[in-house]
């Protein structure tokens, strides 16, 4: 029993050991490359970016997403929640990916073929399509809930 408690139930001890044997040399190869290539990789700045991205995710993105989800969930009727949740996730992803395009950070005034679109309008249209799909999905779920009474019962 002690061996079982030493690792989570979903972790295979043997698999982990094999994974470490195969994976650690690959990690080592990458670390070595990043250090040998220091003139290009700027290892300390790169490390700050890698760790910083993870911290920004855990300490900013997750709490903000959780707070929004919690708030919206409170005002969303049960059957509508899965589509609304998807709508929130898709909107968040589109906003994150779209942000540098909308802001045009990478624009080059000497090169009209770079970032040639109106990204603000495009992003708004994409978010609009997402919420139209959410509305259609909610409608479908409500109709289904009504026609097959009891299908949304908690347990069979």
């Amino acid at each position: 029993m002690r061996a079982k408690r030493a690792l989570p139930e979903t972790t295979s001890r043997r698999g982990l050991l094999i994974g470490l044997a195969l994976g650690l040399p690959i990690i080592g190869y990458g670390l070595r490359g990043a250090i040998v290539d220091a003139a290009d990789t700027h290892p300390s700045e790169l490390a700050r970016w890698v760790i910083g991205t993870a911290l920004a995710h855990d300490l900013v993105l997750v709490p903000v997403a959780a707070a929004i989800a919690l708030l919206v969930h409170r005002f969303t009727p049960g059957p509508a929640w899965p589509p609304v949740r998807t709508g929130l996730a898709a909107t968040g992803v589109l906003a994150l990916v779209g942000w540098p395009f909308v802001r045009g950070y990478g624009d080059d005034p000497t090169n009209p073929s770079v970032l040639p679109r109106n990204y603000g309008a495009g992003l708004a249209a994409a978010v609009g399509v997402v919420w139209l799909a959410v509305a259609a999905w909610v409608t479908w779920r409500c109709i289904r809930a009504r026609t097959t009474a009891g299908s949304l019962a908690p347990d069979e």
């Binding site: 030493a6 690792l7 989570p8 979903t10 972790t11 295979s12 698999g15 982990l16 050991l17 470490l20 195969l22 994976g23 690959i26 990690i27 080592g28 190869y29 990458g30 670390l31 290539d37 290009d40 990789t41 700027h42 790169l46 970016w49 890698v50 760790i51 991205t53 993870a54 995710h57 959780a66 919690l70 969930h73 049960g78 929640w81 899965p82 589509p83 949740r85 998807t86 996730a89 898709a90 589109l94 395009f101 950070y105 990478g106 080059d108 090169n111 009209p112 073929s113 770079v114 040639p116 679109r117 990204y119 495009g122 249209a125 994409a126 799909a133 949304l152 908690p154 347990d155 069979e156």
Partner: protein
């Protein structure tokens, strides 16, 4: 009912092994694709001594690099959803139950940090925004190895549980129908978001998607001569040099006859036409009809060996991509051209006037513009 009352985090039925397993499978496929196509791109740009990058098939790099960027985009919703699902495990107490567990968790730092960084830096590269001082391709390449190594550790640890979770029939295992419904809706929504994001970003290479690809960084048909440009002549600070009437193309090095050709001399040589894509590392690509002198004709004219290799130099005063290398296979390919025309018109200066290199199966940054010299080896 639980799924209605429960907050959409720790208690939620989403946080079960089955969701994590399906998302993990998707991430394995997308990150695996990114890694293989990324290593391929690296081999194309910095071939090690033991590797000869092939000149054919002509459109291969366009496909591998298009796949690279598209799978990275597809992975964004998958990774965020996966981290959301397993988040309770990150904050569990005590943080480690044993030394081995501590090692397993430690390996999550390069996995999560590396995975998020790869997707972030890749997206910013697509958007051409570099808010850092390191050289993106190198940093992205080495972090890829670190991330994939950590992924191997993680897959080793979790493969058995994931396989079990994916195969198990949730209903038979006594999982409530509402919970199954909820999980399917969640995973379906994430999958749809992935597909949607790919559609919204790949119009710069898949022309058919361009009308709806609202976040694509390029638009087919937009640019000088209706063709996108990676770097303009002004940005490369080459405008005056390229327009200089005393321009000469020089062929030198391991040749019997050093050549010095004006643009008119070049145009007087037999010209060849080829339809080839420019396939940028940032994921956009477009095809055009190019006309120019085949490099192999020029090399033969100068009396170079039939298996000669060559370095192509640009008029650009500096920059990492001022020169490009042609291995013997590339130099002798009939469609590796020093082009003087694009779609039947003289090259626009932003496309490399007076002469640019264009060859099959090459990353766009190696299709050197404003060519001044061929150094034969």
């Amino acid at each position: 009912m639980h799924w209605r009352r429960g907050i959409p985090r720790h208690r939620s039925e989403l946080h079960e092994v089955r969701s994590a397993a399906w998302l993990g499978l998707g991430l394995g496929v997308t990150f695996g694709t990114c890694f293989l196509t990324g290593v391929w791109s690296h081999l194309a740009q910095d071939p090690p001594a033991w590797f000869t990058y092939p000149a054919r098939p002509a459109g291969l790099y366009r496909i591998t690099q298009g796949l690279h960027v598209a799978s990275g985009m597809a992975a964004i919703p998958l990774l965020l959803a996966k981290l959301w699902v397993v988040h309770p495990r990150f904050v569990e107490w005590p943080p480690a139950r044993s030394v081995l567990h501590a090692v397993e968790r430690l390996a999550l730092v390069p996995l999560v940090g590396g995975g998020l960084f790869q997707l972030l830096s890749g997206t910013l590269n697509v958007a051409r925004w570099y808010p850092w001082s390191f050289f993106f391709p190198r940093a992205h390449f080495w972090v890829a190895w670190i991330t994939i190594g950590a992924l191997v550790v993680h897959v080793g640890a979790k493969a058995a549980a994931a396989q079990d979770a994916v195969r198990r029939q949730p209903r038979a295992a006594g999982v409530a129908r509402a919970a199954t419904d909820d999980r399917r809706a969640f995973l379906g929504g994430i999958a749809a978001t992935s597909v949607g994001l790919v559609v919204a970003t790949t119009g710069g290479t898949a022309a058919a998607l361009s009308p709806v690809s609202v976040l694509a960084q390029r638009r087919p048909g937009v640019g000088p001569q209706g063709f996108p440009v990676n770097k303009s002549a002004a940005a490369a600070r080459v405008t005056e040099l390229a327009r200089d009437p005393t321009y000469r193309l020089v062929v030198e090095g391991a040749v019997d006859r050093r050549l010095e050709l004006s643009l008119d001399d070049l145009r007087a040589l037999p010209l060849r036409e080829a339809r080839l894509p420019i396939a940028c590392v940032e994921g956009w690509s477009a095809s055009a009809r190019w006309r120019g002198v085949a490099v192999r004709e020029l090399l033969a004219h100068a009396g170079a060996a039939t298996d000669a290799e060559a370095t192509v130099e640009s008029l650009q005063p500096g920059g990492r991509y001022r020169t490009a290398y042609l291995n013997a296979g590339q130099a002798s390919d009939r469609d590796t051209l020093l082009a003087v025309e694009l779609d039947g018109e003289p090259l626009h200066i932003d496309h490399g006037f007076p002469v640019r290199l264009i060859g099959p199966n090459r990353p766009g940054v190696l299709q050197t513009k404003w060519v001044s010299k061929l150094v034969v080896h």
